[in-house]
């Protein structure tokens, strides 16, 4: 087994950075061996805001039904990657989901194509009740409301499905979302994204501002949803250890470039990688 090498390109190098592939066993399940390894395919993605260029050419793929973690320090471009995928940030290059180009679409169009983005800071609608929030998530499903009863019954069934994943939300279904705790709000945000069975779920820092216990519960639910519904998930996370626990593959971003890609299990086990890229001291990495 070869020791992974760092893939940092020299400053000024314009060529495609050759990202080291960490070889080894696949992640937690065999999902990486899905029939569609290029379900989400990002190639040569450059993105930014105005003149500030954040992403400097990203290439990676996510297989259908896979959980992919994007890790890296602050300002590496993790959030921007997600924003480019959901149409909230413009960019060059190509991002295809199941063969359809996503770049250059508005967020609303991306949503129509099956992308569900749970933004950092959750973005729940605080003056709406929990159930209303979830129904907004099903906004697109009810688009042709005159299609009738069957469609509305389907939404009700979806509500039940979400309450099944997040029993706490059922207890609070009539409460204003603003009155929920941070963890419950994050659950609501994820539930709201899941209700229309997205093709691609994007999670941006789901652990932000939450107690460790709540975060763990949340990640377990994401893992369960991924396993039960085969939802493809891209999760951006500061807490590398947690993310690697549920991910099949992981990519490490630094200064807008991928510096490392590989099966999550390998990255988790490899003390050197953890220490160099993820800020996890070698002695702490086994603690979970």
């Amino acid at each position: 087994m070869s020791e992974p090498t760092t893939g940092r390109t020299e400053p000024g190098a314009s060529a495609e950075p050759d990202v080291p592939e960490v070889s080894g066993t696949t992640g937690r399940t065999e999902a990486g061996a899905s029939a569609e390894p290029d379900f989400l395919k990002v190639s040569g993605l450059h993105a930014g805001y105005g003149r500030a260029r954040v992403l400097q050419g990203l290439d990676f793929s996510v297989a259908r039904g896979e959980v992919c973690a994007i890790l890296g320090p602050n300002g590496a471009g993790k959030t921007t990657t997600l924003r480019a995928l959901s149409g909230m940030a413009g960019g060059r290059g190509s991002v295809t989901l199941d063969g359809t180009e996503l770049l250059g679409r508005s967020p609303e169009q991306a949503a129509r194509l099956g992308v569900a983005h749970v933004p950092e800071g959750r973005g729940t609608f605080n003056d709406l009740t929990v159930e209303e929030n979830l129904r907004i998530g099903a906004h697109l499903r009810t688009a042709r409301r005159w299609r009738g009863r069957a469609e509305r019954a389907a939404v009700t069934a979806d509500l039940e499905r979400i309450y099944g994943h997040f029993p706490r939300l059922r207890q609070r279904s009539r409460q204003a979302a603003g009155s929920l705790s941070g963890g419950e709000q994050q659950m609501l945000a994820i539930g709201r994204a899941l209700i229309r069975r997205p093709a691609l779920l994007l999670l941006d820092e789901p652990s932000l501002g939450l107690a460790p216990l709540v975060t763990r519960e949340l990640f377990e639910i994401v893992r369960a949803v991924n396993e039960e519904e085969r939802t493809t998930v891209v999760v951006v996370e500061q807490n590398a250890r947690l993310a690697l626990d549920i991910a099949h593959r992981a990519h490490v971003l630094e200064a807008g470039r991928l510096v490392l890609s590989g099966p999550a299990a390998r990255i988790r086990e490899d003390g050197h990688i953890a220490e160099v890229y993820l800020g996890v001291p070698a002695h702490a990495r086994k603690a979970g």
Partner: protein
């Protein structure tokens, strides 16, 4: 709305209560014109029609999170549509209503487009310019609008079978339209469109990633809102029987917005309270002195905003909360609650045990016994899983 559901308990109890409220309100509304003098009936009619305009503004400002200082212009457009149709084409009164509504809906749709790019103060300014520029325009279009002289039109006449006086008949016509309009506004808000609208208000980008089409819903909010204002304007023509440019100065727009804020933004019955406010306050204060209305109106707005920042409609919800908070404040002033009182050492035997370090809110006369750790505070939360 959700808090009401929680405090009233079950769905059935809630529905029963709502049905009773509606019945009672309907009985009062129908009985009122037989009880009050004609001028008072006229005032009630004005309250109702202003409520329609405020309900429309509420869709935009309260639930849509946008702002308009130009709703007087939509009001005027509806009023003039009705007046011109009655004056020049002699259509019946009822025929003017759908035309005014549809016309203002389209006008609102057109003016909703700038609202896509502007927000806050900028949007307020653009809509204000609309309100400022309309009266001179109406004066200019003299052949159609009658210029500064305005137009005098017939009021709806009570049919012989009803046996009602003119003011009573007008009241009932306006009541019917208002009831339908308010019901429509309520259902609109509970529909998919209304949910999307409120979602956009709470967090635009989050709504967008849910697949809500921002441009559509923001423009539609303007259009619906303008439609309600236009209907109110149309009713105004029926009730007053006279329109002139000076009736629709930009002060009207400001009054509408003030009425809505005083009544309660994003509340279903706030518009009714706000309408009562803008109708009665000027007329009551007129009795005090000639110069009083403006002063009283202004002072009352300040007073209401001070006492009830969420408007009159929010007052019933706030009072119990405020009382509860006051009570819990009193309780909190005894820092450790009941248990501290129970464990309090009598003053005579206060010598043993070091005085606990003074915490904010601890009364010196109530020394805590050190053997009572759970009263001092919750144990520190552990970060360990």
């Amino acid at each position: 709305m959700s808090t009401i559901a929680v405090t009233l308990g079950t769905d059935r109890a809630r529905r029963l209560r709502a049905a009773l409220t509606v019945l009672l309100a309907a009985a009062v509304a129908v009985g009122a014109p037989f009880y009050f003098a004609p001028f008072q009936v006229f005032q009630l009619t004005m309250v109702l029609l202003y409520a329609v305009a405020l309900a429309g503004l509420n869709l935009l400002v309260g639930f849509g999170g946008q702002i308009s200082l130009g709703h007087g212009a939509f009001f005027a457009a509806g009023a003039y549509t009705s007046a011109v149709m009655l004056d020049r084409y002699d259509t019946g009164h009822l025929a003017t209503l759908p035309v005014a509504a549809a016309g203002c809906f389209l006008l609102g749709l057109a003016l909703g487009v700038p609202a896509l790019r502007l927000r806050g103060l900028y949007l307020a300014l653009v809509t204000l310019s609309l309100a400022v520029f309309l009266p001179p325009l109406l004066k200019r279009l003299e052949p159609v609008t009658g210029g500064s002289m305005g137009l005098i039109v017939d009021k709806p006449q009570p049919p012989a079978w009803s046996g009602l006086a003119e003011d009573q008949w007008t009241y009932f016509v306006v009541l019917a339209v208002t009831a339908v309009a308010l019901l429509l506004a309520r259902n609109l808000l509970r529909s998919r469109v209304g949910r999307a609208l409120r979602a956009v208000r709470d967090d635009e980008s989050a709504a967008e990633v849910m697949g809500v089409r921002l441009s559509l819903h923001k423009t539609l909010a303007f259009a619906w809102s303008a439609m309600f204002a236009g209907v109110a304007g149309c009713l105004y023509t029926w009730v007053i029987g006279f329109v002139s440019p000076d009736s629709f100065s930009f002060v009207l727009s400001v009054t509408l917005l003030a009425g809505l804020v005083v009544g309660g933004l994003a509340s279903l019955y706030g518009p009714l309270l706000g309408a009562a406010f803008v109708t009665y306050v000027p007329s009551v204060s007129q009795d005090l002195s000639e110069a009083a209305p403006g002063v009283v109106f202004g002072l009352l707005i300040i007073a209401v905003m001070f006492v009830a920042p969420t408007g009159l409609a929010g007052l019933p919800g706030r009072v119990p909360v405020a009382v509860a908070r006051r009570l819990s404040d009193v309780a909190a002033r005894r820092p450790s609650g009941v248990s501290a009182v129970l464990h309090r050492t009598p003053p005579a035997a206060s010598a043993p045990g070091p005085e606990s370090p003074s915490r904010p809110g601890t009364r010196a006369s109530e020394p805590l016994t050190p053997a009572d750790p759970e009263t001092v505070g919750a144990p520190p939360r552990t970060e360990k899983e």
